[in-house]
Symmetry: C2
Subunit: 318 residues, 2 copies
């Protein structure tokens, strides 16, 4: 498969046509129109074989995942997805692999009406970079830095499942039972919280998506906001699947430091908390109230009211 | 050097602060404002070690080059550069290497007032992806497809020098004479034709930048425009440095099929040709009139009036 055939495969597999794309794939660049009254949000995430996904990860999952992690970043800004660029460094241009990758990518792109407007394909080790664009109403993006003391901290979803799934995937052969499949799918096919995040525009004062684990990412958001927090880890949702595979203690550790959750963690003023919990009833994922922000910096981690000692493990790319 | 130190190095080295950047590096995404009345242009290019640059390429040159090739794409659309995202996959986070890379990147970013607004750094093989954003007045982008028959084809610069420089670089040790240095620099530090391209907005009917060589790229542009051309290769500028190193025949072959020139090739209506040539007198690079577009498809290559047989070599990533 040469470069032109590769591009044709992508063009042929795309069914989303956005009216705000003036010129799509096939020229030196794409030309688009940002909706009137909106600001542009730009996010970029790279997945490298052996670092972000194990060798042998199904191409369908990689195609899905490289877009999912970017949608998650965009969600964390409160932005509506618009256009993607895809850069694919590939050791071999195998047509079955490309077709699987393409299917995974466009399944998610269609779900969120994202149009692929360009990119690059090069011969090299397996590395995938997506730059994703979205929009927010002028002045309405949600950064990590807008929270103040006395506000409520929430997190979505079932933390730790993806980390357990990644571990299961590394211990091949993957057992075919339902529990393992659920965990592995949580890693391979994370559901970005785009719709949930859009509901929070005008309500959340700060938001972050969980790529490196709640322990690290919550502290990042609090540091950006120059605030601290008291958080009860006993409130974290540990799914039956995760508990059955890992046991209580390890499950909690995976939920806090395992990474790859791609859930959103956000902060709302106390007088908006009820409204947010009301809205979240329509969501397809659970929402958990974790604790409150404080004037005192740093996080005081509790478990059912007593001090909880965090395991000393954080995620580092280098 | 961990990821946070790496990000700090980039943030510390950046001096460009654009007023249209609402939120820069350090959050889940960047927030920017596209100038009123403008469309957004998005380009992406990936450089992979061993494919786009030889192992051992100086980090300064790689930092410069990864932005230069994207500026060249943006130029080819007639767009003004605004913001960049940088994704860096690195085997080792060596602080000297990072510092050199950063210097090369920001030297060029400052020249064209590009603000780095985000990106990603991951551990992996050496692969660099830049997504660059620019703007054009609504409806004024220059695609590859707007030319018709009877228009004039131009190309900037000294073709073939970069290809000769790349070859010299592969035959280490690189000799220290001035000729070789000029050729190697043409490969490592191409000068994107951004200013020249902006002068052509409203004049050029089609434009492309030369990454794969005039032979391939001109045909791409003509195919997009559904037109053909008669072109005289005898008019191509072959620099004294290139001639002295390669001889006449090989020099011409490098100029046509060597690639990596990052010059612009464009088409203008015949009645605008004089005006364009006038404007080009102020440019820092030569401009050459190559020939004319024709109703008949395909390119008729001539050399001093006689049919010229093209060597059968084109550039393919796969």
């Amino acid at each position: 498969m040469n470069e032109q055939e590769l591009i044709s495969t992508f063009v042929g597999a795309q069914h989303v046509r956005r009216p705000d794309v003036v010129l799509g794939i096939g020229d030196d660049g794409a030309v688009t129109q940002v909706p009137t009254g909106c600001e542009l949000v730009i996010v970029t995430d790279t997945l490298s074989e052996g670092t972000h996904f194990p060798k042998g990860t199904p191409a369908d999952a990689l195609g899905y995942r490289c877009l999912a992690v970017n949608l998650s970043d965009l969600a964390a800004m409160g932005a509506k997805p618009l256009w993607a660029s895809l850069s694919l460094s590939l050791p071999v241009a195998d047509s079955q692999w490309i077709s699987d990758f393409t299917r995974g990518f466009f399944r998610l792109a269609e779900e969120f009406e994202v149009e692929l407007v360009g990119g690059d394909t090069v011969n090299g080790p397996l590395v995938v970079t997506v730059t994703l664009h979205g929009c927010v109403r002028r002045g309405h993006s949600i950064s990590r830095s807008g929270a103040v003391a006395g506000q409520r901290i929430y997190v979505t979803g079932w933390l730790g499942e993806a980390a357990a799934g990644c571990r299961a995937l590394l211990n091949e052969p993957v057992s075919a039972d339902g529990v393992t499949k659920r965990l592995v799918d949580a890693f391979l096919y994370p559901q970005p919280r785009v719709r949930e995040a859009l509901d929070l525009v005008g309500l959340a004062t700060a938001m972050i998506d969980l790529s490196d684990g709640l322990y690290t990412d919550l502290q990042r958001m609090l540091d950006s906001s120059s605030t601290g927090a008291v958080v009860d880890v006993g409130r974290i949702n540990l799914s039956p699947a995760l508990r059955s595979q890992s046991g209580e203690t390890e499950a909690l550790q995976l939920a806090l430091t395992g990474g790859d959750d791609y859930e959103i963690c956000f902060i709302v003023p106390a007088d908006r908390a009820k409204g947010v919990e009301e809205i979240a009833r329509a969501w397809s994922c659970p929402l958990v109230y974790l604790g409150d922000t404080t004037v005192e910096r740093g996080v005081c981690w509790l478990r059912s009211g007593s001090k909880f000692d965090m395991p000393d493990t954080t995620y580092e790319h280098f």
